[in-house]
Amino acid sequence: MGRIIRHIIAIIAAVTFPVAALTANDAKGPAAGDTASLPGEAAAETAEETAPVIDIKAMLFGHIGDSYQWHITKIGDKDIIIPLPVIVHSSTGWHVFLSSRLEEGPYKGLYCAEGGKYDGKIVEKDASGNEIRPLDISITKNVAGLMINGIIVVLLVLACSRWYRKHDVLKEAPTGVAAVLEPVINFINDDVIKAAIPGNHSRKYAPYLLTAFFFILVNNLMGIVPVFPGGANTTGNIAVTLTLALFTFVAVNLFANRHYWKDIFWPEVPWWLKAPVPLIPLTELLGIFTKPFALMIRLFANIMAGHAIILSFVSIIFLTVKLGPVINGTMSVITVVFGIFMDLLEILVAFIQAYVFTMLSAVFIGLAHEGEKSPDGKTEIAENN
């Protein structure tokens, strides 16, 4: 356990800090943009056509943000767009329509807000003329991306399990998808899950942790692919990582043993740290929430920052156009080289982040099961986390 924790700390330190610094810079972007009422994606595109100045910020957030349609590319003046279904519950009830319908004008009082608090979102006007958000469960670009990626994960893993169903493992070596996935599954199952979760509990949590790993990995990798069906910034979206962190939170706390709760509310520290003012218990209680919160932020920030960096590099080409062909050409070459480097780095980060999320989840789950008798009769010694 001690070895694993050191391992984790090393990885987290290596991966999180540089990227966190970058995201800190990026985070200033939207904050400043909000006050200056950032124009939406559609607005940004019209701005690109008319004004010679490219709105990099709008382009960037247009790409890494969510939208009601899947914008693939633009050939000449024609946008290639996949319209996606909008599902809202407004004051007039449920409405389901394609997002392309909105280009013809408001649909039953619903329209895409431009600027303001709900920029780029579907809104309606209430009685006093203020824009309000209806309940919106539209299949947005990210939702569609999640669905596609989810289907990919399911198909991959089911293809793998199908091989095992159809073949005798004792007589044949795995082939095809099974041969590709088996080492990865084995690596996660043996070196991460079984190493972190004591005794028989690992079997119970293995499906969740493996699903989380492959789901995150596939979403990360598909996010790097620039064209449809890739390109949706799913794991770089806080709602997605929030859900994943929520699952881990439930997995950790729902089946935790007595020892885990005792360690939180009555830890083995000098009495004055817990008796009159419950200092340590309060910190520990906070820790229950900060652990999954850190998981959520880490994954979101890493992937979002990666996308933002690559997009920023690419936009250098367009920014330097007005500086003349020499500078523009040189910068383009540099940009492409850096872009390739960043893409490769992102592939690495895609794997590392999936791995880190899975490993930390496994460690947190493991900590919730420490100090009890494992089935092989050994008493696990609780380590200080």
Binding site: T140, N142, L146, L158, Y164, L170, I185, I238, L242, T243
Partner: protein, 166 residues
């Protein structure tokens, strides 16, 4: 802030993916992989055991061969002893037998000799008597001689009576 719609769909999608994979995906794979791992472990253990057994068998074989050789040596030795015994016994018996036969032969020879001697003796006596008859007949062909003899004989018998009377 996380978007409600995306949050909702993500929950649904992830829950569905998790449910499908937890039911039909990973448990199958991990259990099969575990099964194979166990199988390999067992096979390795079996191989080790077989190896041990083999070396044990070799030792056993060597032991058996050594024992057989010892047994063979023992049997050969015993056989040699038995042979020697039999030969010596036979020799002794033969010697005894020979001695007995010899003794018997001696006895017989003695008896034969005795009988032969007695025969010879009687024949000599007969011959002597015959010779004596013939001699006497020849010497007693005259009366004088007959009378002389009778007188001599009487004298002799008288002498015998005297000596026996003393």
């Amino acid at each position: 802030m996380p978007d409600t719609g995306l949050l909702f769909w993500m929950l649904v999608i992830f829950a569905v993916v998790l449910a499908i994979l937890a039911k039909w995906g990973f448990p199958v794979i991990t259990s099969m992989v575990d099964k194979r791992k166990n199988y390999i472990n067992e096979s390795l253990q079996l191989a080790r055991k077989a190896d041990e057994k083999m070396s044990n068998l070799l030792k056993e074989q060597e032991r058996i061969i050594r024992e057989a050789r010892e047994e063979q040596d023992k049997i050969l030795k015993e056989a040699a002893e038995a042979r020697n015994n039999i030969i010596s016994q036979a020799k002794e018996q033969a010697r005894d037998e020979a001695a007995k036969i010899l003794a018997e032969a001696k006895v017989q020879i003695e008896a034969e000799k005795e009988s032969a001697v007695s025969q010879i003796r009687s024949q000599v006596a007969m011959l002597s008597v015959n010779i004596a008859e013939k001699v006497i007949r020849k010497t007693l062909s005259t009366d004088k001689e007959q009378k002389e003899l009778i007188r001599k004989m009487v004298d002799e018998s008288l002498k015998i009576e005297q000596t026996s009377g003393n």
